[in-house]
């Protein structure tokens, strides 16, 4: 699998992460190499084999719907890079 520069830029847009030109080039080569190594999986016959998402069988773990104390607003906001009037401040979402 040979990745192109455009492939890497497309992926970096999907995960909202800027890459420098150097990084795009470096990851392009390294990821192509890593993906080549993954080709071995295509040899495995997985007909009728169910996928495993978690090592333990889980379905809909729920708890009783009981009210309990939550964290204080100030404690949660304490790590916020920007805040205003007890809320997280972000740039405009809609231009």
């Amino acid at each position: 699998m040979k990745l192109s520069r455009e492939d890497v830029l497309h992926i970096s847009a999907l995960c909202r992460m800027n890459l420098s030109d150097d990084e795009v080039e470096r990851f392009r080569g390294q990821l192509s190499n890593i993906l080549d190594n993954f080709e071995i999986l295509q040899q495995v016959d997985t007909t009728n084999v169910p996928p495993t998402a978690s090592p333990i069988p889980l379905s809909n773990v729920t708890r009783d719907d009981e009210a309990s104390p939550s964290y204080r607003q100030g404690d949660i906001l304490a790590n916020a890079p920007r805040q205003e009037d007890g809320q997280f401040r972000v740039k405009a979402v809609l231009e």
Partner: protein, 487 residues
């Protein structure tokens, strides 16, 4: 006890002296803090040293002991890997992204250890977001191996491993997603266990790959491993993947013989490129297990082992890209300004994450993207099922499997950083264990050119007692765990 070497004590030795009031926790903690002062400029195990609060906690522990508290961890200094939340103490994941993050709550494991009287002396350095096998991917500085400062301590729990080996903590907690407890334990000559997936709560552990991550003890001997596991294991309503199942007293598995025990040695773990000194040490260890009464089948085959690396490096980055989507520079963590909301987010993520984390986010995003999801992600999940079935099958015939923990002794700093695939291959013996969700322990099994070698013992889900018994019997028949690095 030589007051100058208090830092060499194990948990059980220190506990005895504390209980008999021959030392105080303040003295013990003071000795550890002095040791950190003395060696950490060279070893770099710590991201944060919490000396003042440690001494306060030690005073509290001494008061508890005076009132008759005889629980085994009371007053014992420990280090916590820096991806487990500690209320009021920064939790960085060795990343610029979380360099100033101060959690508003404790991880469940921290809460449990606090109740058991832990004296936390600091937070341990690691590969950024636990992605790495050498600690060279810490955004701050690499931790060095106390046995040879030019070599890596392993990773990602390199700080937790090196600190215990160097006497900067009596024990530590690590986390293990693909070998991150066992491989550094092997490299630093200590004991490290990854419990069964679900045995220990992950609440408050900064998520890397949610179906693979597990927290476990890193200790100087097997007895200490059982003592720490006793305290941290158990169901937690705050972690829906923690299993509601009784916790046995793990110290009752510490029996020094292996009569009636059936062990298997899977040949695929003796890989091409394995160092001959490592092979010799593991073969000698297997003979010791036979002498202790175990019957050993040296010709077990787990042919799916060769698929573990690609399965892991598809599933773990896929889960990581989803888990790390939360770092957007809005709610907490590093934040970069930008022209718009998206621009700010892209710059935050582009400059807050280091190269290995970015590489894995890109890899995971690719594996999950349209057109590749079935070929990579679903395929890997199906092969994951086959790897699990192979282990299930083997554990119908054997009580435990014996392998090397790593095919090599600790490598030189810088040796593998240029080639990510070469670095990924250093976890080849530990990855299958997380894929299957089974428990594994690494114990010291000798030396090769003065560097530690680890033996890995694997068992079926929730067979920690069997692993501890094999590990303990082996440890009692050898003295590798008593060797100390000259630092």
């Amino acid at each position: 006890m030589d007051a100058n070497r208090l830092y060499d004590l194990t948990i059980s030795q220190a506990h005895k002296l504390l209980k008999e009031r021959r030392i105080s926790s303040v003295e013990l903690t003071g000795a550890i803090l002095e040791r950190i002062e003395q060696v950490d400029d060279n070893v770099h195990s710590f991201v944060t040293v919490t000396g003042d609060s440690a001494l306060r906690r030690a005073e509290e522990a001494d008061a508890r002991i005076k009132e008759g508290d005889t629980s085994p961890l009371t007053g014992i200094p420990a280090l916590i890997k820096d991806n487990m939340c500690t209320r009021g103490t920064r939790t960085t994941c060795s990343s610029r992204m979380l360099e100033k993050f101060i959690p508003p709550y404790n991880a469940t494991v921290v809460e449990r250890l606090n109740q058991a009287g832990m004296v936390m002396v600091g937070k341990g350095n690691m590969d950024e977001f636990a992605m790495g096998s050498s600690n060279e991917h810490s955004a701050f500085f690499p931790t060095r191996n106390p046995w040879d400062l030019e070599r890596v301590p392993g990773g990602s729990s390199g700080g937790p491993a090196a600190s215990v080996a160097a006497g900067e903590a009596i024990y530590s907690l690590g986390s293990d997603t693909g070998g991150s407890i066992r491989q550094p334990a092997s490299f630093c000559g200590i004991v490290g266990m990854k419990p069964t997936y679900g045995r220990v709560s992950r609440f408050g552990l900064v998520a890397f790959a949610s179906s693979l991550d597990q927290i476990g003890p890193m200790t100087k001997d097997v007895t200490d491993c059982a003592l720490v596991l006793n305290t941290i294991a158990g169901h937690d309503p705050r972690d829906s993947t923690s299993v509601n199942r009784p916790v046995p007293d793990y110290t009752s598995s510490l029996i020094p013989d292996l009569k009636g025990m059936k062990l298997g040695v899977p040949r695929e773990y003796f890989v091409e490129g394995m160092e001959s000194g490592v092979r010799a040490a593991i073969e000698a260890a297997i003979s010791t297990l036979e002498r202790l009464g175990a019957s050993v089948d040296r010709d077990v085959s787990l042919p799916g082992t060769k698929y573990a690396l690609p399965v892991y490096y598809i599933i773990a980055p896929s889960e990581a890209m989803a888990n790390l989507a939360r770092y957007d520079g809005v709610k907490y963590g590093y934040s970069h300004d930008g022209d718009s909301m998206w621009d700010a987010m892209e710059k935050t993520r582009g400059s807050g994450f280091g190269p290995e984390v970015k590489r894995r986010i890109i890899l995971g995003t690719y594996a999950l993207s349209a057109g590749y999801y079935d070929a990579y992600y679903v395929k890997a999940q199906k092969v994951r099922t086959l790897i699990r079935r192979e282990f299930d099958e083997a554990f119908r015939r054997y009580d435990a499997l014996i392998t090397p923990t790593s095919p090599t002794v600790p490598f030189k700093i810088g040796e593998k950083t240029g080639d990510p695939l070469k670095m990924y291959l250093s976890d080849i013996c530990t990855l299958p264990v997380n894929i299957a969700g089974i428990p594994g322990i690494s114990v010291p099994a000798g030396f090769c050119d003065g560097l530690p070698v680890g033996m890995q013992i694997l068992g079926k889900p929730f067979s920690e007692e069997t692993l501890l018994r094999v590990a303990y019997a082996y440890e009692q028949a050898t003295d590798w765990h008593k060797h100390k690095p000259k630092i």
